[in-house]
């Protein structure tokens, strides 16, 4: 198929009017062709505007209340197995959310990374590890989350570089996990916890650890739970540290 023929598929693709096999082939082409991607982006905007051409109708008066009522009942972590709802996690995060603007946020993070340098020193046992930490901290798109305790005194600071798919976490005042237990760091992506890895603190209650973020994971919240040694596929208890990611860019 010539380039010209490919671009002819952009309009029906944007309208969702391609047959499944044709759509699959065009999607594969889109991965490689920035011209067609730009075409699809614009024509998709055109298609989305068609919604406004629908004859105006007034929603029933009770619909708004119903939507809010159902939102209140939403329990993504409940799954009917007696686990608590996400709401406490979210409420804790709401208290911690720091609204940082452009530029301002970046400068502030730079200042805070000086505080983290003490924690970084703990990682100097491995030159490779240190380089990785520094590289992550210097990423221009770095996000950060301050995790504060929901009951106890420990705190943690998380640095996340989406481009490098790495997080670096510095934990303070957290006693080492008991025998047979470990701490586990979670990214909350679209309401679902995704494990970023397990860690433990030293006798002084500190640790600095770098962990890989699975591909395609974008997260707004991060949390720490205590789990059986080796970690759990899903959290088995309420987190004691929760934080919201703020972006430096």
């Amino acid at each position: 198929m010539t380039d010209h023929q490919w671009s002819e598929l952009a309009a029906p693709f944007a309208l969702g009017a391609l047959a499944p096999d044709e759509r699959a082939r065009f999607q594969a082409h889109l991965a490689e062709c920035s011209v067609c991607r730009a075409e699809v982006q614009t024509l998709s905007e055109v298609a989305a505007r068609l919604a406004e051409a629908a004859p105006a109708a007034t929603p029933p008066p009770g619909l708004r209340d119903r939507i809010l009522r159902e939102a209140r009942q939403f329990r993504p972590l409940g799954r009917g197995r007696g686990r608590g709802p996400l709401a406490p996690w979210l409420a804790a995060a709401a208290c911690l959310a720091i609204a940082l603007g452009l530029g301002y946020g970046y400068l502030r993070e730079r200042a805070e990374s000086r505080q983290a340098s003490a924690a970084l020193a703990a990682a100097r046992d491995s030159l490779a590890a240190r380089d990785s930490l520094v590289a992550t901290l210097l990423s221009p798109d770095m996000g950060t989350a301050a995790l504060a305790a929901t009951g106890q005194a420990p705190s943690a600071r998380l640095y996340w570089s989406p481009s490098r798919r790495r997080v670096v976490m510095a934990v303070f005042r957290l006693p080492p996990a008991p025998a047979g237990r470990t701490y586990q760091l979670w990214a909350i992506a679209q309401g679902k916890p995704v494990s970023l890895g397990v860690f433990n603190t030293a006798a002084d209650g500190r640790v600095t650890a770098a962990m890989a973020v699975p591909p395609g994971i974008t997260f707004e919240l991060s949390a720490v739970t205590e789990e059986p040694a080796g970690g759990s596929p899903q959290p088995t208890q309420q987190p004691f540290l929760v934080g919201k990611v703020t972006r430096a860019d």
Binding site: P12, T42, R49, R66, L90, A91, Y104, A189
Partner: protein, 201 residues
């Protein structure tokens, strides 16, 4: 740069960002802004008011649960909601084994099409002038398309039909349908340019 204030007129994407921390007021506000659009679109596709209500409740529930799925780089919040609404509404029509309203309209030989007639739109009390103007531009642009082009676009968007299905529905050659769809979308791209992110707005 000064930190952005979440004032009385926070942008849509700021409302969606507040979903992540369980802010129900942000959900209510987003519904106040786009609920009528979603309901009108759903009704245009599913026909039954009760079904349209189900769709809209579902759409805002999904937006609430999966706010992280909204990527500001890929379009407006309104466009995101419209896409979810259209998908849900077409799913429901298919699940019921019905034909969407757009297909019924197209089946009537001399129908005026599905989109709102301009006069009816003008009577609407628009809460926000800019939105009303945008809507009028969309309606007018669609009305100004040659009727065969408008019809294939409506069958695709509101009827959820593929090009092949449209050709069968209209009993026209597939190549003709493809040409009309492309030409119509090109014209809309031109006339809606002020509303598009790459356009002159």
């Amino acid at each position: 740069m000064v930190p952005q204030q979440a004032g009385p007129r926070a942008p849509d994407h700021a409302l969606v960002a507040r979903f992540a921390v369980g802010d129900e007021r942000a959900l209510g506000e987003l519904y106040d802004r786009h609920g009528a659009m979603a309901y009108s679109l759903a009704l245009a596709i599913v026909r039954e008011r009760a079904d349209a209500e189900e769709v809209v409740a579902d759409v805002f529930g999904q937006a609430w649960r999966s706010a992280a799925g909204y990527d500001p780089g890929r379009g407006s919040v309104a466009g995101w909601l419209a896409t979810i609404t259209r998908t849900r509404a077409l799913d429901l029509v298919r699940a019921r084994g019905r034909r969407a309203r757009a297909i019924e309209r197209a089946a009537q030989a001399d129908s005026d099409g599905l989109a709102a007639p301009l006069g009816a739109t003008a009577d609407l009390p628009d809460r926000r002038l800019e939105r009303g103007e945008a809507r009028r531009l969309v309606v007018r642009s669609l009305e100004e398309l040659p009727e065969p082009q408008r019809r294939v676009i409506e069958l695709a968007y509101f009827g959820g039909l593929s090009q092949t299905e449209i050709a069968a529905e209209l009993q026209e050659p597939l190549g003709t349908v493809k040409t009309r769809m492309r030409a119509g979308m090109e014209k809309l791209r031109g006339s809606l340019a002020p509303l598009l992110s790459g356009g002159g707005s």
